[in-house]
């Protein structure tokens, strides 16, 4: 079913909307959540919570041109929240490691006018990602959005782990420069 038709089901308050959503995107959403949470049970919970959130947010939202992205954002946000609430300590440690990787991208300084909230930062990150070529952007998104391991990415792309790590390192350096040039602080 086309996204537009699924959205119409939501607007009609037809519960088939959730079934169709799960049918079309359930596997990808579960994979995304599992990548963040590290286990199937939590992933299933997050995806189900996401369906509920989508049900409650459409209407008024009408994300028919970016429905998967809309779903992915919600699933990822819920999954990350679950991890950071400490229910999965081991996984939380891995997320903190990702934080440390990204932390080095943040320039120094402490100017209030340069500080951004999360949505503003997301806009800056989006702009940065558009400067990367397709491969680099894909790897960056897999690592820091989908939170996949280097090994998983390498296996998927048929690259060595070293090559993926090097690419990530270069992207982080590029992000650091990008943020620095724009005076972004946090």
């Amino acid at each position: 079913m086309e996204d537009k038709s699924i959205i119409e089901l939501y607007f009609a308050r037809d519960e088939a909307a959730i079934r169709e959503t799960a049918e079309k995107y359930g596997v990808r959403l579960h994979a995304l959540s599992r990548s963040v949470t590290g286990n199937d049970a939590d992933a299933a919970e997050c995806v189900n919570d996401a369906y509920l959130a989508v049900w409650e947010s459409i209407p008024p939202h009408r994300p028919e041109n970016y429905f998967f992205a809309y779903l992915a954002r919600i699933v990822r946000h819920l999954s990350l929240n679950l991890v950071m609430r400490g229910r999965r300590k081991k996984r939380s440690a891995e997320v903190m490691s990702l934080c440390e990787e990204l932390e080095v991208c943040i320039p120094g300084g402490d100017t209030p006018e340069g500080r951004l909230d999360r949505e503003e930062m997301a806009a800056v990150l989006s702009a940065f990602l558009r400067t990367l070529d397709g491969d680099a952007r894909g790897i960056f998104l897999r690592r820091y959005f989908a939170m996949e391991s280097v090994k998983t990415i390498a296996l998927s792309l048929g690259k060595s782990e070293g090559a993926v790590s090097s690419q990530l390192y270069r992207s982080r350096e590029a992000l650091r420069r990008f943020l620095s040039e724009r005076g972004v602080e946090m």
């Binding site: 970016y66 992205a69 903190m96 949505e119 930062m121 959005f145 090994k151 998983t152």
Partner: protein
């Protein structure tokens, strides 16, 4: 001030990326898996037990459902060393009460479990299900190094640097046992010290800990302050000889190292996870250095942590020993940091969190 919270903000901010960037988001179906003999054997052993459980449970299932004509025929799993062979064909209920077809399996690379059927991928050591999806086999491995908790913490100056003095929260620890944490280059140098003023014996354990919490090196050594006034680790010739030993170890020739007064032992953890154990003996005492398989980075970490080198010094020595340009070292570091999905490392990190919290204070 930059801190880990900022990294978290960046990570969280990515949930709000422009939609078009996410629309074609590639999500791997393959889950990461650390290929170690330990985990392989653990996973296969667990799987075998599951199979055994299934086999044992089957007669009961038959008794409860004797009218089911599609009885499972497979009756046994055979342990092949690196795979499980299951023979037979049949139908059995899965955990949701549905029935699932269990295909006949005749080769060693196949594996059946109570509610899934698949094979263990030779390359990635993950369980591949019939629909192509892949399940990671969980690993449960206790950390090699356990950092204890602490009951008291004090700051003090150590060679012009701020360090922490921590008393272990364990009544069995000797009175003068203490811990010191200080920043050394890219690492936290975590030193456990126990001294006995009566005998003059001192025992040190030095951990090189990355910001991630990974314990990258473990070195223990001891000395007798009554007999010797110098710390042999600061002796340049000692360090040089250790470097030579490490180089020798990499080539597989251990005789020259032994002739220089040391010995090398390799011990196995699991199957192919060999830990190289360098024992360096001098007239002043003995030092042991454990080099883990991810040796390149460990090596650098060890240089910085054990010998308290600054980052630049560690880089220069590492590049010299590896015969590479210093610019290339960052790739080693990046690879090390990106290896943190490793569950073993994650375990260690959990144990190291106590330390990290103390540092944060």
């Amino acid at each position: 001030m930059k801190n880990i919270e900022n990294g978290l903000v960046l990570l969280e901010s990515m949930s709000f990326l422009d939609a078009d960037l996410l629309e074609e988001l590639p999500i791997s179906e393959v889950r990461a898996y650390k290929r170690t003999a330990w985990s392989r054997w653990t996973a296969l052993a667990a799987s075998f037990l599951l199979i055994a459980g299934v086999v044992l449970a089957l007669p009961h299932a038959f008794l409860h459902d004797s009218e089911d004509e599609r009885l499972p025929e497979y009756t046994q799993g055979t342990w092949l060393g690196d795979a499980v062979e299951v023979s037979g064909v049949g139908v059995m209920p899965n955990v949701t009460g549905d029935e699932q077809y269990i295909p006949k399996v005749t080769t060693g690379a196949e594996l059946t479990m109570p509610n899934v059927t698949g094979r263990i991928d030779e390359e990635t050591q993950v369980l591949v299900l019939p629909d192509g999806s892949i399940v990671r086999i969980p690993e449960s491995r206790e950390p090699d190094v356990i950092i204890p908790s602490f009951s008291s913490v004090d700051y003090f100056e150590l060679d012009g640097r701020t360090a922490l003095y921590m008393q272990e929260d364990d009544r069995n620890v000797p009175v003068d046992g203490r811990y010191i944490i200080e920043r050394k280059g890219r690492l936290w140098r975590f030193q456990h010290y126990i001294g006995d003023s009566w005998s003059g014996e001192e025992h040190f354990t030095v951990y090189g800990i990355a910001d991630s919490g990974d314990i990258l090196s473990v070195v223990t050594y001891e000395r007798n302050t009554l007999a010797h006034q110098q710390d042999n680790l600061t002796d340049v010739k000692t360090i040089e000889r250790l470097f030579e030993a490490m180089k020798t170890a990499k080539t597989g020739s251990r005789d020259s190292w032994a002739q220089n007064g040391g010995s090398i032992e390799s011990r196995s953890e699991g199957d192919n996870k060999t830990v190289l154990n360098l024992i360096f003996r001098t007239e002043r005492g003995q030092m042991e250095c454990y080099l883990y398989p991810y040796a390149d980075v460990i090596f650098l970490a060890g240089l910085e942590a054990v010998f308290a080198l600054d980052e630049g010094e560690g880089y220069e020595l590492f590049a010299k020993l590896k015969g590479i340009d210093t610019d290339e070292i960052d790739n080693f570091i990046a690879a090390a940091l990106d290896a943190e999905e490793d569950y073993e490392v994650a375990h260690k990190r959990e144990k190291a969190e106590t330390t990290a919290v103390v540092i944060g204070n």
